[in-house]
């Protein structure tokens, strides 16, 4: 181990996050590989090690014998300071080698608030931030993850983005990179060839021009790059490799357990939800596959918990068969099975009763909208009846805490809708009085609101966000309407939401402000410990980024949106139709009841059909 590091580690919090050496890490001989890849997660070890995508791609990229893919996370503030002071550059966990010497850095960017950390990690590695300042082929700096559905704000920094699921396309990029390295290609030569791979977006091969009013006039591809970059997906999830020997962290992380992915995509189509649209089409794994992968993973890790991941677990058709199969293995071994993202229905309650024999944790509902009218408008198919029915069973069964999540500022929301939130809390309280067996323990109802953020590639991508003042007015309206002492109201600060809105809907001109925030010390902005609203607002001011233009302006139907050249499968016309349905306060049937021909099925190959029916 580096002598300097050895002196620092005993002084920092949780040093095991910075050492590597965990069980199941992949070690290779660096002299026997052609490409050394730093797989970078722009957040802490605890968050990154909990990310199933990282775990999957670590495995698939290392399956290439000529690649050694190692993990890199962002150090927490104390370690960051110590590294700066000692002059230790960013290093990879497996080998401890400085990533500045690697052939390539690949970032997984899942959320906008990680942008400054990407820049910071590049800087810690001693790599120039902008692609224009990196004339050589190596190191290739690229990224994937949800942020790629609107890559524009980060476009000047990254050489290449992959759009969609990475299991195949990442390895195609790495194979081409090896050829380029061996053949001594120029960076431009490589990027032009890479842009021909489906799912690869090379921002420098697109010229963006703007109208005088600031909207996009045209996005023009050059050197043979496609006019639209089409997302990559894996058609057959039963055949794609899944890591059943994931790394077992030697220190506590956020999700410290085996995770199984039931399906990709979501049949629900909530109109505010980006994930529900950009991960389509629907593709499920077979229960046999999941049970096998679950058992193998448990045996290879020694974990004592397994969890089922998806956007809407209750929508997995064979949930009973899957749970039975897993419980058969788990129960005699005291392994816990948990199912997040259940819907408020009867079946969910039955299964929860079965799973949570000992502890009765709280019930959580993502209700989103305060009235049925508004829930219909955003296509959130949860009724008051569903919630109350589930609560009545739960209260009778001994549960006594309920959490309700809402968004304020959804399109078409009125004061009446907001007051409906308080009304529902009262109904639940009443429901508890009627159904609870033991009232001595009391009941605790918690309402949380956050500020709606319009997201690219969702039906609300044209929407404006409400102002900070308006959000506060709505918060205060709700506060004054909540009177019962068993009901607690927490509201999230809207300041982060405002910055997120600018970044999610941003174009390339926002990049300067991201860099300016980083220059003023911004990193780990997803953490309230480090986020500074003032720093962001000042950077927008300095760089001439008009917050109102990006966050508070409604876009026109025919406007070219900055991310229109990224094709996630769902048609823009479908998104617009969904938005119009919102203004009519009308539900759209979920995919299982009626296929809306959203367009995502075109991505499927090999005769595989969307799992919509």
């Amino acid at each position: 181990m580096d002598k300097r590091l050895e002196r620092i580690l005993p002084r920092v919090q949780k040093p095991a996050r910075y050492t590597g050496g965990e069980y199941n890490q992949i070690l290779k001989n660096k002299d026997e590989v052609d490409i050394r890849l730093a797989f970078c997660f722009p957040d802490t070890y605890e968050i990154g090690m909990s990310n199933l995508g990282m775990s999957i791609l670590y495995d698939t990229m290392n399956s290439l014998p000529f690649v050694w893919c190692e993990r890199v996370y962002a150090p927490w503030g104390d370690m960051y300071e110590e590294m700066k002071k000692a002059g230790i550059p960013l290093y990879a966990l497996e080998s401890g080698d400085p990533v500045g010497d690697f052939d390539s850095l690949a970032f997984s960017i899942g959320y906008e608030m990680a942008y400054t950390t990407v820049l910071d990690m590049l800087d810690m590695a001693g790599i120039p931030l902008r692609t224009a300042d990196r004339p050589e082929l190596l190191p290739l700096i690229w990224a994937g993850g949800t942020a790629a559905v609107n890559a524009e704000p980060m476009a000047p920094f990254l050489d290449l983005f992959v759009v969609g699921e990475g299991e195949e396309v990442d390895n195609e990029v790495l194979t081409l990179l090896r050829e380029a390295k061996m053949g001594g290609w120029s960076k431009h030569e490589f990027l032009v060839k890479a842009a021909r791979i489906q799912g690869v977006y090379v921002p420098s091969l697109y010229e963006v021009s703007y109208h005088p009013d600031g909207t996009v006039a045209a996005v023009t591809p050059k050197d043979g790059a496609p006019s639209r970059v089409t997302k990559r997906i894996i058609s057959d999830l039963d055949k794609v490799p899944f890591p059943t020997k994931p790394i077992v962290p030697s220190t506590e992380v956020v999700h410290d357990r085996v995770s199984l992915e039931l399906f990709r995509g979501c049949p629900r189509g909530c109109r505010f939800c980006q994930a529900g649209h950009v991960y389509r089409p629907l593709r499920a794994k077979k229960p046999e596959t999941l049970i096998r992968q679950g058992i193998e993973s448990l045996e290879n890790t020694g974990h004592e918990d397994v969890t089922l991941l998806s956007l809407s677990t209750s929508d997995y058709r064979q949930l009973p068969a899957l749970c039975d199969g897993l419980l058969e293995y788990c129960e005699p071994r005291s392994i816990g099975l948990s199912l997040p993202s259940l819907r408020a229905d009867n079946f969910s309650m039955e299964i929860m009763e079965r799973l949570q024999k000992v502890r009765k944790s709280g019930l959580t509902f993502a209700v989103e909208g305060g009235s049925q009218r508004l829930r219909d408008a955003v296509n959130k198919n949860v009724t008051e009846e569903d919630v109350l029915h589930t609560c009545s069973i739960a209260f009778a069964g001994g549960w006594n805490t309920v959490k309700l999540y809402y968004m304020l500022g959804l399109p078409t929301e009125t004061d009446e809708d907001i007051l409906g939130i308080a009304e529902m809390a009262n109904q639940i309280l009443h429901c508890w009085r009627v159904n609870a067996k033991n009232k001595n323990r009391g009941v605790k109802i918690t309402i949380s609101t956050s500020c709606f953020i319009p997201k690219p590639q969702s039906p609300f991508q044209w929407e404006a966000q409400i102002s900070l003042e308006e959000y506060l007015r709505r918060v205060n309206l709700l506060r004054s309407a909540i009177t019962a002492k068993n009901v607690t109201y927490n509201w999230h600060d809207a300041e982060t939401s405002l910055i997120e809105a600018v970044l999610s809907k941003g174009d390339r001109r926002v990049a300067d402000a991201i860099e300016e925030v980083w220059r003023q010390g911004g990193r780990l902005d997803a953490w309230t410990d480090y986020f500074s609203f003032r720093r962001w607002m000042e950077a927008f001011e300095t760089c001439g980024v008009d917050v109102d233009f990006y966050a508070h302006r409604e876009a026109g139907k025919d406007e070219i949106l900055p991310w229109d050249h990224i094709d996630v499968g769902v048609r823009k016309a479908h998104l617009w139709h969904e938005r119009e349905m919102c203004y009519k306060s009308q539900l759209s049937p979920d995919c299982r009841h009626q296929c809306a021909a959203c367009g995502a099925a075109k991505l499927l190959t090999g005769g595989i059909k969307c799992d919509e029916r």
């Binding site: 890790t301 974990h303 005291s334």
Partner: protein, 220 residues
């Protein structure tokens, strides 16, 4: 019969940064991976019945850690070290597994090797001065106790100590009281910082070598 089992293991290299609490968790998972079944406590929140003697400070290595555990089955003890080591994170190596007869309370002394690194100072000169310093009859330092900050004489807890100059460092071999009182080897450097700052090393690190009872017989 499977209730009084003890493991002797090494914790070196990158594993020295695994904290005591995390190590318990790591052990539990390693047992699961190796296909052994730890006994769990009864009650609302069952936890595996394992106990690691004398928690090790983060950053300190050891060749002689001891962990008591209970198994549901009766294992073939001879095979256990190899099977467990095969599924351990880097730096943890199980060297022995046996049924124990002696209580942890009988463990009295720890043999420890350490290194005091001096970046700018002359090791031979430092070694000489360290010998002098540790020859004192009493070394009273201020340290955190259960009742806030207090004065403690660490000298009675140092049974033997010797210094050998090396490359930019002084090597230390010492035997310290393991419990009642517990003398953490870190205190050897801390005493210098408090009483003779000019001798305080730029960096100190330690490795536990062996466990002994009150009569200086090897403890198992």
């Amino acid at each position: 019969m499977s209730d009084k089992l003890r493991l002797r293991f090494e914790k070196t290299g990158r594993a020295v940064y695994i904290s005591h609490l995390d190590l318990m968790h790591t052990m539990q998972r390693a047992f699961n991976r190796a296909g052994y079944h730890l006994k769990y406590s009864e009650g609302f929140n069952p936890h595996p019945q394992i106990a690691i003697a004398l928690p090790l400070s983060v950053g300190t290595a050891s060749l002689c850690e001891l962990m008591d555990f209970k198994l549901k089955e009766e294992p073939e003890l001879a095979a256990l070290p190899e099977r467990l080591t095969a599924v351990m994170p880097e730096g943890i190596r199980v060297t022995e597994a046996y049924e124990f007869t002696r209580k942890v309370a009988e463990l009295k002394w720890l043999e420890i090797r350490g290194v005091f690194e001096y970046d700018e100072r002359e090791p031979a000169e430092m070694a000489e001065k360290l010998r002098e310093f540790y020859a004192r009859d009493a070394i009273v330092i201020t340290k955190k106790t259960k009742r806030g900050m207090g004065e403690t004489d660490i000298r009675p807890g140092i049974r033997e100590i010797s210094f050998t100059p090396g490359e930019k460092a002084v090597d230390i071999t010492t035997t310290l009281s393991a419990q009642e009182p517990t003398i953490n080897p870190e205190l050897l450097a801390e005493a210098l910082r408090q009483l003779r700052p000019e001798l305080a090393p730029d960096f100190a690190k330690f490795t536990r070598i062996e466990t002994f009872d009150a009569d200086m017989q090897v403890y198992r």
